[in-house]
Symmetry: C2
Amino acid sequence: MTTSFHPPQRTLMEPGPSDVNPRILEAMSRPTIGHLDPLFVQMMDEMKGLLQYAFQTQNELTIPVSAPGSAGMETCFVNLVEAGDTVIVCQNGVFGGRMKENVERCGATAIMVEDEWGKACDPAKLEAALKAHPEATTVAFVHAETSTGATTDVKAMCDLAHAHGCLAIVDAVTSLGGTELRVDDWGVDAIYSGTQKCLSCTPGLSPVSFSSAAIERIQNRKTKVQSWFLDLNLVMGYWGKGAKRAYHHTAPINALYALHEALVLLQDERLENAWARHREHHNALKAGLEALGLTFVVPEADRLPQLNAVSIPEGVDDAQVRGMLLNDYNLEIGAGLGVMAGKVWRIGLMGYACRKDNVLKCVSALSEVLGRVGVNVDGKKAMKATLAAYGE
Amino acid sequence: MTTSFHPPQRTLMEPGPSDVNPRILEAMSRPTIGHLDPLFVQMMDEMKGLLQYAFQTQNELTIPVSAPGSAGMETCFVNLVEAGDTVIVCQNGVFGGRMKENVERCGATAIMVEDEWGKACDPAKLEAALKAHPEATTVAFVHAETSTGATTDVKAMCDLAHAHGCLAIVDAVTSLGGTELRVDDWGVDAIYSGTQKCLSCTPGLSPVSFSSAAIERIQNRKTKVQSWFLDLNLVMGYWGKGAKRAYHHTAPINALYALHEALVLLQDERLENAWARHREHHNALKAGLEALGLTFVVPEADRLPQLNAVSIPEGVDDAQVRGMLLNDYNLEIGAGLGVMAGKVWRIGLMGYACRKDNVLKCVSALSEVLGRVGVNVDGKKAMKATLAAYGE
C-alpha cells in the first residue's frame, strides 16, 4: 500500500522551481470553488490587472495559460505562426532550440541565428537575417536564457523585428519579476513566462500577454490553430471581458489562487524593489562564489542576477557535489543543460529564494562541500567577501 | 491595490470541480521540491502505480498530463492521429464534438456517428461506420458524457474497433473513480481523465494511459507529433523507468502532491467501494429529486450515478434558481451545456462531494428554492423519499 507523500523542506536555489513563499502555499490550499463562480470570475479580473502590472503592459489579453511555461511557449507559436511561414529564431541556449521545434511543428520554416551559449543574442545578426529573409513574419528569442543566465536586449530586437514588418515573440520565463521587463515600452508582441521562477509560485501555469497586432494576426488566420486547448480565440471566451464567460476548459482553480497571491506579493513589494532585491543578493552571492574561486559563464554585462551559472572546477564530480548539497544541506542547485551538462552549476536566486539567509547558506555549504571533495577553498574569505557585499 | 483572495466554502455538486477532500488541499500546500529531486522521482513512481490501480491497467505509460482534461484529450489525438488519417467519432454530447475538433486540427478526417444527447452510443451504428470506412485507423468515444450523464458500453465499442483493425480512444473524464472502468479487460488503447471529478482533487491535471499497441503506433509515426508539450515520445523521457529522468518541462509539483493524495484515498477506500458509494448516494438523490417532480434526462439503464441531469420545470428561470442556491446555500449545481443550455440542471455527486449530507442539503435547498419561485413542490415528501432510500 502507498502512503501519503511528505516532502522535506528544501532550499531551492535552482533555476526553478524556486522557494515558494508560505503565503502562496497557504493560498493554494483555500477551498476550491467553481470555475464559473461569480467570485472566481472577479478573481480572474484581478489576476489580469496584476499580470498587466507585472508585465508592464496595457494588453487586454494578459492571462495565465493553464499549463507550464512550455505550454505558454507553444501558445505563442501555434497562435501566431501558420504552416508555410518563415520565423527567425535567435538561439543562445537550450530554449532557443525549443522555439525551433515549435516553429517546425507548426509546419513553418525556422531560420536560426546562432549566438554563443552564455552570450546575449546579437541584434546585428538578427538584422542581417531579416534582410536576407524578407519573407519572415515573426522573430523569436529568449529574454533571459535559463540554461546559461544570459540576458538579451529586448527593445533592440523588437525594434528590428518591427522595422522589417515582423512580430516579436519573447521568452520571459526566467525574467518576469526578477529583472527589468517592459512589454509595452519595448514593443513585445507575444510573451510567455512561468510561475515557478521569480514569482516564487508553484510550477504549473504560464502567464502570457499579446499585443493588439498579435491579436489581429490571430483573428485573421487562414487556418485554425492546430491546438484546441491553446487556441486563444477560444481561451479569450473564458478570460474575456464582462461577467459572461464561456466554458472552454476547467481552470486550475487552486493553482490560480496561488498565482494571484504571488502577484499580490509582487504588487505590494513593487516591481522596481523586486528587481533591486535580485541585484543586491546577486552581488553578494557573486562576491562569495568568486572568493571560492568559481568563475561565471556569462560576461558581466549580459549576466542575469537571478541565474548564476558558474564553471565546475577541474576534476570535481558534478553530481557528487550536488548530491552532498541536497542530502547534507537540503540545498538544491541546478545542473547544466544541453552542451553545458556536467560543466556548469546554475544557482538560482529567484523570488522568495532570493534572500540573504539563502545566499549565506549557499556560500558556506558550497565552501564546505568543495573542501570535502578536495578543492582548495578559503571558506572564511568567501563568507567575509559575501558579508562585505552586504556592507557588513 | 488588490488584496488576497479568500474564497467562500461552497458545496460543489456540479459536474466538476467537485468538493475537494481537505486532506488533498493540505497535501497540495506541502513544501515544493525540485522536479528532478530523487524523492520526487520516487513519488512519481508511486503515482504511476496508483493510477494503474485506478484505471485497472498494467499499462506502463500511465501518467498525469501536466494540464487539464482537455489537454489529456489532445494528448491522445495528437499522438495517435496523423494528417490524412480517418477517425470515427461517436458523439452523444458536447465532448464528442470536441473530439471532432481535435481530429480535424490534426489534419485528419472525422467520420461522425451521432446518437441522441442523453443516450448511450450505439455499438450497431459504430459497426456500420467501421464497415463503411475500412480506411479508419481509430475510434473515439466518451465513456461518461459530462454534458448529459449518459454512459456507454466501453467493452462493446472497443471490441468492434479492434475487430476492424482500429485503436480506441476513450474519454473517462467523469467516470474514473466513480463508476466501473477496466482499461485492460475492456481493451482500451488510449484513455484520458480529469482530477476534479470523481477523484475529488483540484482541477488542472489529466491522468492518461496508453496500451502497448498505442505506444507502438506513436513510436512508428511518419511525422512528428504537432505539439511539443504533449509529445509522448518526449514526456516518456521524464516519466519513464529508472532513476534517470530527462528534463522535458517543469512538472506542476504541488498539483501532483494533491493527485497523489487523492489516489492514496481511492486506494484506501478501494475502487469497488467507491463505485458502490456513488451508486448508493445517487439512489437517494434520485428518490428525492423525483419526489420533487424532477425528471431525469437519461434513461435509467444508461444513467451515470455521479452526474444527474434533470429537466428544468416549465417556466422556471434556470439562472435565477442556480443563483439562489449559490448565494443562499453556497451550493453550486451545474447548468446545461450546448443544446441543453437552459433546459437541464446537472447535479454532480462526485468523489468527496458524494456524501449523505450533500444529498440531503441538495434536496432540501432545491425544494425550498423551487417553492420560492412558484413551483408546487412537497418538500417533506422529498426528504422522506430521500431518507427512505437510505433505509431510514
